[in-house]
């Protein structure tokens, strides 16, 4: 089980996810610079959080055009699992690997805090260790996490079980108050039709050991470990 973490100029959670992968999977991932044009042999591609290209223009837009992304898109289309966290999610969307758009948070502020999420599907290699409807806690840290898609797309995502995580309160209600950034249908994370490409705004790599005040993030990596080993 060997992962590859793509490092863009301005990525800043690349080390954190490297540590998390090493910690949960027992092997250090490849760190791949954005200017590479080929990927090493890998079982999982991770696009880490951060501010690729300063988040200028639109978050993820410039990174989505990096040289390495051609290889990432090809690998993803061939079935290699891809995990995009925060800025990584934004890049997946800009690259067209996931539908919709991520816009400025509705209060226009950066938000960093623990949030409650409801696991909407365990039918994925990323969430098989959770229970359906389980309420988990993972921190977010973003300025542009307000998920938008037209009604039809949202309906399709719902229908196909592609919504993986939704913002909720501590009782699991997906209220408007719990919808920290104004996302359509409280969407915090979605998966593609083939259920191999997963993008989410929360940062699982920040909650992998008790000192982090939570370990729900570790469960995502453990799910992958179980599914891909």
């Amino acid at each position: 089980m060997k992962a590859a973490v793509i490092v863009f100029p301005g990525s800043n959670c690349d080390r954190d996810v490297q540590v998390a992968l090493q910690n949960r999977m027992g092997t250090a991932p490849h760190m791949v610079w954005h200017r590479e044009t080929t990927l090493p042999k890998t079982d999982l591609i991770v696009l880490p959080g951060g501010f690729s290209y300063g988040d200028y223009l639109r978050c993820g837009a410039m990174a989505a055009n990096s040289p390495i992304m051609r290889a990432v898109i090809a690998a993803a289309q061939a079935g290699t699992p891809v995990l995009g966290i925060c800025n990584g999610f934004q890049i997946l969307i800009e690259a067209g690997l996931l539908p919709g758009a991520l816009m400025r948070n509705r209060n226009l502020k950066f938000i960093c805090k623990d949030v409650h999420l409801r696991v909407e599907t365990t039918d994925s290699i990323f969430t098989n260790r959770f229970n359906n409807g389980e309420i988990i806690k993972i921190p977010v840290a973003h300025h542009d996490g307000n998920y938008f898609a037209d009604d039809e797309t949202v309906k399709r995502l719902k229908g196909e079980g592609q919504i993986v995580l939704r913002y909720c309160d501590n009782e699991g209600e997906t209220t408007d108050v719990a919808n920290i950034n104004g996302s359509a249908s409280n969407i915090a994370g979605i998966i593609n039709e083939e259920r191999r490409i997963f993008g989410l705004m929360p940062h699982p790599e920040r909650v992998i050991e008790p000192l982090h005040r939570g370990t729900h993030g570790a469960m995502i990596f453990d799910s992958l470990m179980e599914a891909l080993a």
């Binding site: 800043n12 959670c13 959080g49 501010f51 300063g54 950066f110 938000i111 805090k113 920040r206 000192l211």
Partner: protein, 574 residues
């Protein structure tokens, strides 16, 4: 006719006496570029001319201190071959004029101070003072400053884990934005600024130079009046993305053996960095200003020397390393230019397309800058108030509610939730407690960090107030289970030319010194910001203290949350 008229001298903030000293040192009339250099080097901001005498009285030594004040940041030993490097710095005036960019570039500047020394920044803090909550400007300034701090720190991927925020009408026209950064380095790989090696190349890296903030350093040393809000001096715009690349490129270069000396370009940019490096190393420098990467056309030597463009560094490399070093900066897509060499002349020679555009002696300028023993008055002691003489105006419960709801005591969650305080995944005590704790990556050790000051105490009694600020920092660190090790300070005061204000400064220094000695808690770095006044009204004296402590095992730290019911609450102390 000479271009140096009395008006020109005055507009450069030099007094008649200072200008006489300029003539003495030069042995001739300076040209405009040279005058500009004197002006920024001798500004309060760069020369510490009013404060030097008193700063020298602060205790700076302890067995664990590797580097005290005088370098870009202070360095302490935290065992296992590791060092914590930290400093606090103000960006008060720019933040008042343009809160977002002013605060952002303040954070950028302090982070450069720390990574210049070879440290990866691992925690940011910010000590903020705003005017009265109901003052029409306060909301705008508060939200702009907080967004600016977050905008820069979040993008850099360095967690902002603590700080303090106060409100008081004395800051209505002059807010305080003090930013602190703590970094982590190996003790055997710390970088200093003293240039060495005659003939060695002087290298410029980072962003291109534009016409930003020319005269910023002199602005930070002059009082505000209502007109300056209109004068609107050019404010620098921060580019955290470039700084993130600069950080990674510098750390990559520092892992090799190519750097002799390195210094960031902060206030007074190329001037102060080149003079400081040369002066510390006792060497001369020849700078080829036409080789400086420029953002705009038609820039002059004067502008190049005085520009405060952000995200730039100056370094001296070992001979023959230019190509290998350049390759690293190419990878990170940053400018890299050899812009001069070290000489044995002990002079700064500025070349412009082959002509001499300026030629100044280094030591007299850098070291013999004016130092004043400003007259000062002791703050009169206030009468003690006995508790019995105070009339109870409301029930205790109501008083408590009023206190908890007051601007000074209310929750700061609104602020720290705009800061990424968890990136790097080592924040083990988040904001909201006494001190924050960040784990030293890949170890069980933790660094505890806090900033503290209660300005109204300092106003009432500068000596006691100075002591109290240090003691509070000490207590906040011990409260999470850390051993306090050292402090950095940020001395924010009004106009030192007023004896009453100078007396506050002197008193605070005395108090800080006394407390530091008593607690074995030395000062390893700091910053002074004077002339914080509007229309003759000074701010509350605000010597902000940034404290750093160490926990051998983060598994054993204490936090403020009450853990279970039926626990016993104990009060310690008098």
């Amino acid at each position: 006719m000479s271009e140096i008229t009395p008006d020109v001298i005055k507009s450069h903030g030099l007094t008649d006496d200072e200008y006489k000293l300029v003539l003495d040192i030069m042995g001739r009339e300076p040209n405009l570029t040279e005058l500009g250099i004197f002006s920024v080097m001798w500004s309060e901001h760069c020369s510490y001319k009013s404060s030097k005498k008193w700063l020298k009285t602060l205790p700076t030594k302890a067995p664990w201190v590797i580097q005290g004040p005088g370098e870009n940041a202070g360095v302490i030993d935290i065992g296992d071959g590791q060092a914590a490097i930290f400093k606090m710095e103000s960006h008060n005036h720019p933040s008042f004029i343009e809160p977002y960019q002013g605060a952002a570039t303040g954070v950028g500047g302090i982070m450069r101070d720390v990574f210049t020394m070879g440290a990866r920044p691992i925690a940011n803090l910010n000590a903020l003072r705003f005017g009265a909550p109901e003052h029409p400007k306060t909301r705008h300034l508060l939200s702009g400053v907080v967004e600016g701090i977050g905008g820069y720190g979040n993008c850099m991927g360095v967690p902002t884990v603590g700080g303090e925020t106060n409100f008081h009408p004395s800051y209505n026209g002059n807010i305080l934005v003090n930013a602190m950064t703590v970094g982590l380095a190996d003790t055997n790989n710390i970088f200093y600024s003293a240039a060495a090696g005659i003939g060695n190349p002087v290298v410029y890296v980072g962003s291109k130079t534009g016409r930003d903030g020319i005269h910023g350093a002199t602005m930070a040393s002059a009082e505000f009046d209502d007109a300056s809000a209109d004068k609107r001096p050019t404010v620098q715009v921060g580019d955290p993305f470039t700084e993130k690349l600069l950080l990674e490129a510098c750390l990559e270069l520092m892992a090799t053996d190519m750097i002799v000396a390195i210094q960031d370009m902060g206030a007074a940019g190329l001037t102060s960095s080149s003079f400081e490096m040369a002066s510390k190393g006792g060497v001369g420098v020849e700078l080829w200003l036409d080789k400086v990467p420029m953002r705009e056309e038609g820039m002059t030597p004067y502008e190049l020397m005085l520009s405060e463009s952000q995200e730039r560094m100056l370094m001296v490399l070992k001979p023959g390393c230019e190509e290998a070093a350049k390759a690293i900066f190419d990878k990170w897509e940053l400018d890299f230019a050899v812009i001069g060499k070290l000489t044995d002349s002990k002079r700064m020679t500025l070349m412009w397309h082959g002509d001499v555009a300026g030629d100044l002696p280094i030591d007299p300028l850098a070291e013999a800058s004016p130092e004043y023993d400003r007259p000062w008055e002791e703050t009169p002691k206030q009468d003690r108030i006995s508790a019995d003489s105070i009339e109870q105006k409301m029930p205790h419960s109501e008083a408590l509610k009023t206190l908890m709801g007051s601007a000074d005591l209310s929750s700061r969650r609104w602020i720290w939730e705009q800061y990424d305080h968890m990136v790097m995944a080592d924040t083990v005590v988040r904001p909201g407690g006494d001190a924050a704790v960040v784990r030293v990556h890949d170890t069980r050790k933790g660094l505890a960090v806090t900033t503290d000051c209660t300005p109204r105490y300092v106003k009432a009694d500068p000596v006691q107030g100075g002591m109290q600020a240090v003691a509070e920092a000490y207590r906040n660190l011990t409260a999470v289970g850390a051993t306090p090790l050292a402090i950095t300070d940020n001395m924010n005061f009004g106009n030192p030319e007023r004896p009453r204000i100078m007396g506050q400064f002197v008193g605070a220094c005395k108090g800080i010194a006394e407390a530091c000695i008593a607690l074995d808690f030395p000062v390893v770095s700091g910053n002074v910001s004077l002339y914080n006044e509007t229309n003759g009204e000074g701010i509350l004296p605000t010597p902000a203290i940034g404290g750093v402590g160490m926990l051998p095992d983060v598994g054993r730290m204490a936090t403020i949350a009450l853990k279970r019911k039926d626990s016993v609450l104990v009060m310690l102390g008098s």
